[in-house]
């Protein structure tokens, strides 16, 4: 089992969700984060003073999957998250972490079937 963490553009969230549901990944957790990376931030101006804001709004997805779902999930995320065929700086990253166990709180089920 793997714990997949993906950082994507907020505007691509819907597309990623759609792409994931096509490969039958229906469960995930979403959070608001801010990213620092190659993508530049923006400038805000208040009463003539410029402020450089380098943190960029991103969305973080967390998806626990069984091993055979890892590749389709990754591909689906890439498909949904890339801006245009070329992709753009800031499109984000996917991190794959090992996952040892999963428990469904409602039933107490554990492991692969609880995912």
């Amino acid at each position: 089992m793997k714990y997949i963490i993906a950082i994507v553009q907020p505007s691509r969230l819907e597309a990623v969700k759609e792409a994931l549901s096509k490969v039958e990944v229906f469960r995930l957790t979403v959070g608001d984060v801010q990213g620092l990376g190659r993508q530049k931030g923006h400038t805000e101006i208040y009463r003539g003073h410029e402020y450089q804001v380098n943190l960029v709004r991103k969305v973080k997805l967390e998806i626990a999957v069984n091993d055979d779902f890892v590749d389709p999930t990754i591909e689906a995320i890439i498909r949904g998250a890339r801006s245009g065929p070329e992709g753009k700086i800031g499109d984000g990253k996917i991190f794959i972490l090992p996952l040892e166990d999963v428990i469904r709180i409602r039933t107490g089920e554990r492991g692969g079937e609880a995912i």
Binding site: E44, I45, Y46, R47, G48, Y51, Q52
Partner: protein, 460 residues
Amino acid sequence: MRQSKIFRSPLLIGATFGGLLLAGSVWAQALPPVAPSAPVPEIKIDSGATAWILASSALVLFMTPGLALFYAGMVRTKNVLGTLMHSMFCMAIITVQWVIIGYSISFGDPTFGGLLGSMKYLFLNNVACDRAFPGYPIPHLLHMAYQMMFAIITPALISGAFAERIRFGAFVVFTLLWSTLVYDPLAHWVWGGGLLSMAEGSWLRRTVGVGALDFAGGTVVHISSGVSALVFCLMIGKRRGYPKEAMLPNSLAMTVVGAGILWFGWFGFNGGSSLNSDPLAVSAFVATHIAAAAAAFSWALVEWFHRGKASILGVVTGLVAGLVCITPAAGFVKPMPALVMGLAVSPVCYFMVAVIKTKLGYDDSLDAFGVHGVGGTLGALMTGIFCSEEICKLSGFATSAGLKQLQAQAVAVAVTIVYSAIVTVILVILVDKTIGIRLCADDELSGLDLSQHGETGYNP
């Protein structure tokens, strides 16, 4: 120990109030009987004038919550309630101060050669609701109420300068003292027949030949608060992290609401200052609106040229600057000069807050000085330039040509600046030595809301 610290502030506030009271009473006793001032013909109370000044009083009162929002939108989230408090609490304490002693200092008969009003109106004695305020068709008590709203908002203006770093108790004591020792005398000097007024035999009139024109508070309200703001922020020091850290406004939407309310209320502030519902009120109303609009427009233009973008914060700052600038002039100028004044004030204020402030490095956090001090000074001077014989006649002042008037304005401005600055220096030192004026580092870090009031602004 903890006890004593906590209670030091309310005790001091109590003491302040008590002291004011005592002083007042003693003084009331000690004064020689007031010489009857020249009898002003009593005018009959008019229901239309009363209606408009009642509405104006309500409008001016509404400006203080407006100012609370205007300022609170600009601070960081952790200080939003503390900043609201600075304005809102003025509504509470200044009202109490005003009805006890403030009105008397400001509008009692001139004593000590016009330095202070007599104690005739202590506790609103002799302020009747069914007799006209001499020379105007509104009840005397209504004049008291209308002027009270001005006394409330003026110290609230200062709070933009020391935002995000003052102890609440210190704020309260300072505000009470400042209002009594700076605002009330100034109001007396300019509007109460005192030193700087148009009254026969006032010091300024004897010196320059003509009194100062200040229709609705360019000197009394804006210069006094603006200059005190500057002094205060220099003395209390910068916010921790300023200017390196970005301290972004928590909600400009809130600031816009506040600005909208300010514009709305300012119609009462200036439009009501004729104390009548007459052509002069209309003229002041129109001048006010035009200057606000023009200044909002010119601020946006300056931003556009300087930074490539016009901003909403710019527009609302500009409109406030315009309102400030036209305040002393509203009842003396025609519409087109009002337009010019509005267009002129924004570039100057912008230059002040965007360039000079950075250069000099002081932390006037919400630009109380940059907007009110600078805009008020500009307005007071331009009043001397643009005042129109035709309009002035409506208010019963015969203006005697330009240059002398300008000179009178300049003297009034100078006196206001010097007096406000000196008293503020003394008060800040006094309050700091007794209860301490500045938040400790931890409290500043966690914010006014939690450290001073035990609340948080937003709970999602």
